[in-house]
């Protein structure tokens, strides 16, 4: 790398960014519980998301027990099975992944990475978490109400979602589910405004948009998308709630139940599908874009090499964000839409493959001739790339109308979306936790346990989802409690199902090792120092580890370079922090 802009400003004073007025907590309660500090809010978000995620994990075990060994577990009846799949999907997609990436990593990393003291609206940020927690509590409450949680599937398609034949349909389940979603969206909007405006307005001096780490780009773009897409779910949820509670007919067609003509008439279930997927497809990228960003930083740091094609990476993130709003109907190919619409949406869907492929190539080219350290975060990052490619390729199948129609509602679809937006983002979540845990706690996670966790999770996830593609191709439908005797599903598929279930149980159990590692390392982990990975981004250059209230010392850092100066020829170390002046030395922090 050549320094083209020779610098004459090395001794510049940092005071030219207006410093925010920071809220200073006065008691234990306002420091740790009702905290307005983004770092504390981030940890609250992350712990809540992981706790509810464990519930979803147990639900997946129960589902797999039933699918692998039908008839053996008499305590799982068909209604419960439907409730398990619904809550598993809903929790994983919204209450775990969305909340963890944006509320957890967004809150922790945005202010630190852009060199801000905190989010710009700390009070609103605090409210965001508490409303999220309330949404989670309402969600959990559905397990304990008469009739149990809704069993409508995570897509909550009407009319079945509010009919008596669906678990929770004419009881409390669906009402609380919708209420919880509405709360979640309100809470998220409060947080999302913070993330966006902090990136726009609170960057420190020298932190131009094109010097931001890709993590911030990913979270920023995903937040903008979420702010614009979640209203669609909000509208759908409110309208369905009115259908259920007041008897309106937004979505409910004329129908009979138990031989009785119902009060509904004329509504359009298709309208719900449009609204739901107008949110639902961007949601895939709301989860994927932060993962893209984080994985870029993990790969660059742990391969000691600058990210390949930074500009293309940024453009691709923005392009994916924009394109993802015009593909929603590819989830509705079997809804009887006009063939021309199908053609249109298939085309836009396949166009998204271009910026996505650019990203994949750039990750691979970043690794090419890099000094690859197979640390636990790196292992997870590499696992993400292969898993995402895998899931992306089956996406090409499903994006085409003619291929999608026979595969629709089979286990192939389940395998596809678990690969691409289940396993792949979760790999990044783990990688990111192993990467940033030393900054958050000051201690390293145990390496041996981490590697064990990685290999069991990675190989196990493949053991679960690879065979599932085959089972789906055989025609095994999703959402069935028990397939029973069929002519088209061979006995081998049943054996595979049993195998998948055993693998799922093992992968789930391996997560307990991770949880143990989190707790154990908090007290017994190796001291990490300020910058254990030798990373360039600002969060590793804080004067204290973990960063203190206000993040920086008396003065905000000044940024002199982009986030990827690794292995710069002639530099004394193999990384140059973003706040290191040209020809000078870092003002704050140093490698441990």
């Amino acid at each position: 790398m050549v320094d083209v802009l020779s610098d004459t400003n090395t001794g510049i004073t940092p005071a030219e960014v207006v410093d925010v007025e920071l809220y200073h907590p006065k008691s234990w309660w306002t420091t740790y519980i009702f905290s307005q500090d983004a770092k504390v809010i981030a940890i609250q978000y992350a712990l809540t998301a992981m706790a509810i995620g464990m519930v979803a994990l147990v639900l997946s075990w129960l589902m797999r027990l039933q699918l692998g060994f039908p008839g053996t577990f008499s305590f799982i009846d068909p209604s419960q099975y439907l409730q398990f799949i619904t809550m598993h999907g809903m929790i994983m997609v919204i209450y775990l992944l969305t909340a963890l990436f944006l509320g957890g990593f967004g809150n922790y990393l945005i202010p630190l990475m852009v060199g801000a003291r905190d989010m710009v609206f700390p009070y609103v940020n605090m409210l965001s978490y508490w409303i999220y927690l309330l949404a989670v509590v309402v969600l959990v409450a559905t397990f304990f109400v008469p009739g149990g949680p809704t069993g409508a599937g995570w897509t909550l398609y009407p009319p079945q979602a509010i009919l008596s034949g669906t678990p929770g349909g004419n009881e409390w389940g669906i009402i609380l589910m919708l209420a919880s979603l509405i709360l979640f969206i309100i809470g998220f909007t409060m947080g999302g405004l913070n993330y966006v405006v902090t990136v726009l307005q609170a960057r420190t001096r020298g932190m131009t948009l094109m010097r931001m780490p890709l993590t911030v780009w990913g979270i920023f773009t995903a937040t903008v998308m979420a702010l614009l897409a979640f209203p669609a779910l909000f509208v759908a949820a409110v309208m369905m709630l009115l259908d259920r509670a007041l008897g309106t007919s937004f979505f409910m067609p004329t129908l009979q139940e138990m031989g009785q003509l119902m009060k509904y008439g004329g509504g359009s279930p298709l309208l719900f599908q449009h609204l739901f997927w107008f949110f639902g497809h961007p949601e895939v990228y709301i989860v994927a874009l932060p993962a893209f960003g984080i994985v870029s930083d993990l790969i660059s740091t742990h391969a000691r090499k600058n990210i390949f094609g930074y500009r293309m990476m940024v453009w691709a993130i923005v392009a994916i964000g924009a394109l993802s709003f015009v593909v929603w109907a590819h989830h509705m190919y079997v809804s009887g839409m006009h063939p021309q619409f199908g053609f249109f949406f298939a085309t836009t869907t396949l166009i998204i493959a271009i910026p996505t492929a650019i990203k994949v190539y750039n990750w691979v080219l970043t690794l090419w001739r890099g000094d690859i350290h197979l640390t636990v975060p790196m292992l997870f990052a590499l696992a993400f790339i292969v898993t995402f490619v895998n899931g992306g390729l089956t996406g090409l199948f499903l994006g085409n109308v003619v291929v999608d129609v026979p595969l629709s509602d089979t286990m192939f679809v389940v395998a596809h979306f678990h690969m691409v937006m289940g396993v792949a983002p979760i790999m990044v979540v783990f990688g990111a936790i192993y990467h940033w845990y030393p900054k958050i706690t000051g201690r390293m996670l145990n390496d041996g346990l981490g590697k064990f966790h990685f290999w069991v999770t990675f190989l196990g996830a493949y053991a679960v989802f690879f065979p599932m593609h085959y089972v789906g191709l055989q025609g095994m439908p999703r959402r069935y409690h028990d397939i029973g005797e069929t002519s088209f599903i061979p006995a081998s598929a049943h054996d595979l199902n049993a195998f998948i279930s055993v693998a799922a149980l093992i992968v789930g159990a391996a997560q307990l090792v991770f949880v143990f590692n989190l707790a154990w390392s908090l007290f017994k982990g190796k001291e990490a120092g300020g910058n254990p990975w030798g990373a360039t981004t600002l969060e590793w250059q804080t004067p204290q580890t973990p960063p203190a209230h206000g993040n920086w010392g008396k003065e905000l850092p000044i940024v002199y370079r982009w986030a990827y100066d690794y292995s710069v020829p002639g530099a004394p170390r193999d990384f140059v922090p973003q706040n290191e002046p040209p020809g000078g030395f870092a003002v704050q922090g140093a490698r441990a």
Binding site: M1, V2, D3, V4, L5, S6, D7, T8, N9, V120, F121, T189, L193, V196, V197, L200, Q201, A202, R203, R205, G206, M207, T208, L209, M210, R211, V224, L227, L228, P231, A232, F234, V235, V238, M239, L242, L246, T248, S249, F250, K263, G266, G267, S268, L271, H274, L275, F278, Y310, R311, W315, V318, F325, V326, I558, Y560, R561, W562, D565, P582
Partner: protein, 232 residues
């Protein structure tokens, strides 16, 4: 879904214009040293940018309602309801409310503390009158037998007006806080941001209301039909 796609296209154009100002084609790996990000962080206060982003969210919410409305009204069971005359009065009151806040904002510029207070009080009072008027309109419809569950047109009418009214109520909370500050004798300069934010929000809600009114009264029907023809 054309309304929401159109709305997001507008948002995308604004975002694209903003991004085009951000040196996205620069080569950051070659540029070491201090770059003064003159066009990056805007000189506007964060609260204003925050409100702008929030208005985009609210705008997309209403655009989605409009989309749902136009899709649902195509179906055979749709029976438009007679729009109560009271809505015209309410619309006038909301325009007055917006005007009063604009006046308060101008008073801030003149450093006229009393004018600010009068403007804020007038704006808040007229917004309250608007809300009461909306409730009375509901009552009239209810008395005439137009219940929410009777027809989707009725249901949409109640739903959309209620959502708009809730946003006005939220605005009144913010306006109330600014008014209390003004009442306690804060200097106009200290009130500037609060008054400007309220004014921006009020104008936006007025604009949304005019669009909704055009939709609910059926004025927009021709426009919707043209859009539909273009798409099919």
């Amino acid at each position: 879904m054309s309304a929401i796609v159109l709305f997001l296209a507008v948002v995308a154009v604004i975002a694209g214009w903003w991004l085009s100002q951000q040196r996205l084609a620069s080569k950051p790996w070659l540029e070491t040293g201090v770059i003064d990000d003159a066009r990056g962080a805007s000189s506007l206060p964060p609260a204003k940018i925050g409100l702008g982003v929030f208005l985009a969210v609210v705008g997309s919410l209403f655009a989605l309602f409009v989309s749902a409305y136009t899709m649902r009204m195509e179906l055979v069971d749709w029976r438009s309801l007679p729009v109560p005359k009271l809505l015209w009065f309410n619309t006038a009151v909301l325009i007055v409310s917006s005007g009063a806040l604009q006046w308060a904002r101008a008073a801030v510029g003149r450093d006229d503390g009393e004018g600010v207070l009068i403007g804020l009080l007038a704006g808040g009072a007229s917004a309250l009158v608007f809300l009461i008027g909306q409730l009375l309109a509901w009552q009239q419809l209810d008395a005439a037998g137009y219940l929410p569950a009777a027809n989707p047109a009725n249901a949409f009418f109640y739903l959309i007006t209620a959502t708009h009214a809730l946003h006005v109520v939220g605005g009144l909370v913010a306006l109330g806080r600014t008014t209390v500050k003004a009442w306690r004798g804060a200097e106009p300069a200290q009130l500037r941001l609060g008054v400007e934010l309220c004014t921006m929000y009020w104008h936006f809600l007025l604009l949304v209301w005019l669009v909704l009114l055009a939709l609910l009264t059926g004025w927009a029907d021709d426009f919707v039909a043209i859009c539909r023809q273009l798409l099919t």
